[in-house]
Amino acid sequence: MPEKKIRVLIAKPGLDGHDRGAKVIARALRDAGMEVIYTGLRQTPEMIASAAVQEDVDVIGLSILSGAHNTLCARLMELLHAKGMTDVTVLIGGIIPEADIADLKKIGIAEVFLPGTTTQAIVDFIRQRVAAAPRGA
């Protein structure tokens, strides 16, 4: 039986339109053999949480460069919790001040990828994480 593909939702929450990072990551994960759904721009946490449930993804990758990460991530994590989607891996990439990283991890963000991260590092992180704790296992 072929191995099940890892399913990833790449999302751009908030009002920011800078989508270079989101698009590069979407393509890199797809090239690495994952199933990638890109939400497009200006998604509210509600829209992202619903898409994650509907698409039954293993991973949510958020791209945030606008400084709104604390508000947006807190709201998304609340919503995922309320929907019972507690085993999904949530990652952020973008412009995130060092001082905010610990708090983001405290609310359940699995990892924060800063500018300069290789796409391979993200691929490896996702594979290890999903292999160690597959969803619904």
Binding site: Y38, A68, E98
Partner: protein, 569 residues
């Protein structure tokens, strides 16, 4: 990536085949170069720019066989403007040092502006926050978490008055980075100028107001292309009549490059956007020389020193020929491409952030050697957050050191006549012209955008670049080589008190103003939008009654609709 795609996107010239080296160059190659290479070969097989454009080992007169200095180089201040748009360039006047700034409330940003002016900055440049850029008031639900974060929150004329408190608009020039809501924001600025007693006929500055690059790259659009271009044309027309010294548009490649384009794509898409705006103004019935002198441009200053210099030189040469040959402009001021440059935000590294001071200095130097009219230098901490005051000061000092200490301002176009720079200028021009022809063939830029053409070209280039970095084919110091473990730096933090105080201000504004008058003026705006009136007078009326930005943009959302892109990944 497939080979087919690579052939389509990379504008690699076939210059090698036609190149005929001189006897002495051939002899050097045979007798000097070959033995040297036999002993120690080149480090790598291909040498390329940051845009992956191939660079030869050596440039000689053989590369300039068809180059005619009278036709292709000319003199400073004269067509084709390759050497710059002013006869004396920086001997007469240095470029404007214009640092983009904005965060928190209008009061916070007003303090930063006055600080920068006191440190010798010569012009103001406003960064607005995302709710403002998207036409939402600070208390809109979608503004949650974004108020004052990556720029200043401006929801009404009251905020604009606070932003320019004690800053005389008759004396400073102001650049405003705003696009979809550029027209109402400009109306607010003009209202402040009027209240200060400044004459509209003499005030000066630049409105970014370039919506096409939003669809292509930065994606901060509200309305569909048709109504958006109508608003842009309204502002250009209104400016030409009433605010003749203001640049109503800054046609921008900066964001196209930040989205991952190559230098040639940045140049080509920007100039083709410029052509699109000119065509709209002509269709409106305007005469080209009545508005073309006030079209301004904005380019990126990226890491590849010579490629950037060639890009600016080629930009001027192409634009003068477009204006003269394509549009029949008669006024030399219509032919001369004036531009602002900003160092490349996307080149800044979160790792070893002090290295960014060096990157920014090299990039700024390229912009100056390329003949920029004004310049923004990024701060060292911007891969982490908005800049602190001390980081912003070093960025300004970087320009001042180039201006006063480096000696590069002593003569116009110092690289003019260089085999390499002239060849690269020719090649960048040819690459850009190829793209412009492709977009013409697609039916213009709006048609090209609707087909996703520039978006796809940029996404492909961005991905190729990331792959090159990941494979270490290109080295970024501190990122994929020379890596160290380091301590975090101090960054600027903007908390949610700004959002709360903005909400309070808006509540008070809505209580204090005449809401009946606001409704009346918004209705007249809505009515004008459904017809063909120039919207600027209606916007001016609405802002003076303290209609908020969100209310104004909503009034326009009704007749115009909103744009949704088809995402290309």
């Amino acid at each position: 990536m497939t080979d087919k795609k690579a052939r389509k996107t990379a504008s690699v010239p076939a210059f090698k085949a036609s190149r005929k080296p001189s006897p002495s160059e051939s002899a050097w190659e045979e007798n000097t170069l070959k033995p040297a290479l036999a002993k120690s070969p080149d480090r790598v097989a291909d040498f390329t720019t940051v845009s992956s454009y191939p660079i030869r080992r050596l440039y000689t007169d053989a590369d300039l066989a068809n180059w005619n200095p009278d036709r292709d180089l000319g003199d400073p201040g004269a067509p084709p403007y390759t050497r710059g748009i002013h006869p004396a360039m920086y001997r007469e006047r240095r470029w404007t040092m214009r640092q983009f700034a904005g965060f928190g409330s209008a009061d916070d940003t007003n303090r930063r502006f006055r600080y920068l002016l006191s440190k010798g900055q010569t012009g103001i440049s406003v960064a607005f926050d995302l709710p403002t850029l998207m036409g939402y008031d600070s208390d809109h639900p979608l503004a949650e978490g974004e108020v004052g974060k990556c720029g200043v929150a401006i929801s009404s004329l009251a905020d604009m008055e606070a932003l320019f408190d004690h800053i005389p608009l008759a004396d400073v020039t102001t650049s405003m980075t705003i696009n979809s809501p550029a027209a109402p924001i400009w109306a607010m600025y003009l209202a402040v100028a009027e209240k200060q007693g400044a004459d509209w006929r003499t005030i000066s500055g630049t409105l970014q107001n370039d919506i096409l690059k939003e669809y292509i790259a930065q994606k901060e659009y509200i309305y569909p292309p048709g109504p958006s271009l109508r608003i842009v044309t309204d502002t250009i027309e209104f400016g030409a009549k009433h605010i003749p010294k203001f640049n109503p548009i800054s046609i921008s490649g900066y964001h196209i490059r930040e989205a991952g384009s190559t230098a040639i794509q940045e140049l080509a898409f920007t100039l083709r956007d410029g052509i699109e705006y000119v065509e709209h103004c002509l269709r409106r019935g305007m005469q080209v020389d009545d508005f073309a002198p006030r079209l301004s441009f904005f380019f990126n200053a990226h890491n590849d020193f010579f490629e950037e210099i060639a890009k600016y030189r080629a930009a001027r040469r192409i634009w003068q020929s477009v204006m003269r040959e394509r549009f029949g402009a008669k006024n030399p001021r219509s032919w001369a491409l004036r531009f602002h440059a900003q160092t490349a935000g996307c080149s800044l590294t979160a790792q070893q952030p002090y290295n960014n001071v060096v990157r920014t200095a090299v990039q700024a130097l390229a912009a100056v050697l390329g003949g920029t009219q004004s310049l923004h230098t990024n701060s060292l901490d911007e891969a982490w957050a908005l800049p602190t005051e001390s980081a912003a000061t070093i960025a300004l000092r970087t320009q001042q050191i180039i201006a006063h200490e480096s000696g590069v301002t002593n003569t116009a176009d110092p690289f003019g006549g260089s085999y390499f720079v002239e060849t690269l200028t020719n090649e960048v021009e040819r690459g850009a012209r190829d793209y412009i022809e492709t977009i013409d063939a697609l039916g213009g830029m709006v048609a090209a955008i609707e087909r996703g053409f520039p978006q796809r070209e940029i996404a492909d280039a961005a991905y190729r670049y990331q792959v090159a970095i990941d494979r270490k084919e290109k080295i970024i110091v501190g990122v994929n080589d020379y890596v160290v473990v380091e301590k975090p730096i101090e960054t600027l933090h903007i908390d949610e008190t700004v959002a709360r105080s903005q909400s309070d201000r808006l509540r008070k504004l809505r209580a204090d103003r005449s809401n009946a008058e606001v409704d009346r003026r918004l209705n007249s705006l809505r009515h004008a939008a459904a017809g063909t009136d120039n919207l600027m007078p209606h916007l001016f009326d609405a802002v003076k009654a303290y209609a908020t930005l969100g209310e104004i943009c909503d009034a326009l959302r009704q007749p115009f609709g909103v744009y949704q892109e088809v995402a290309i990944t």
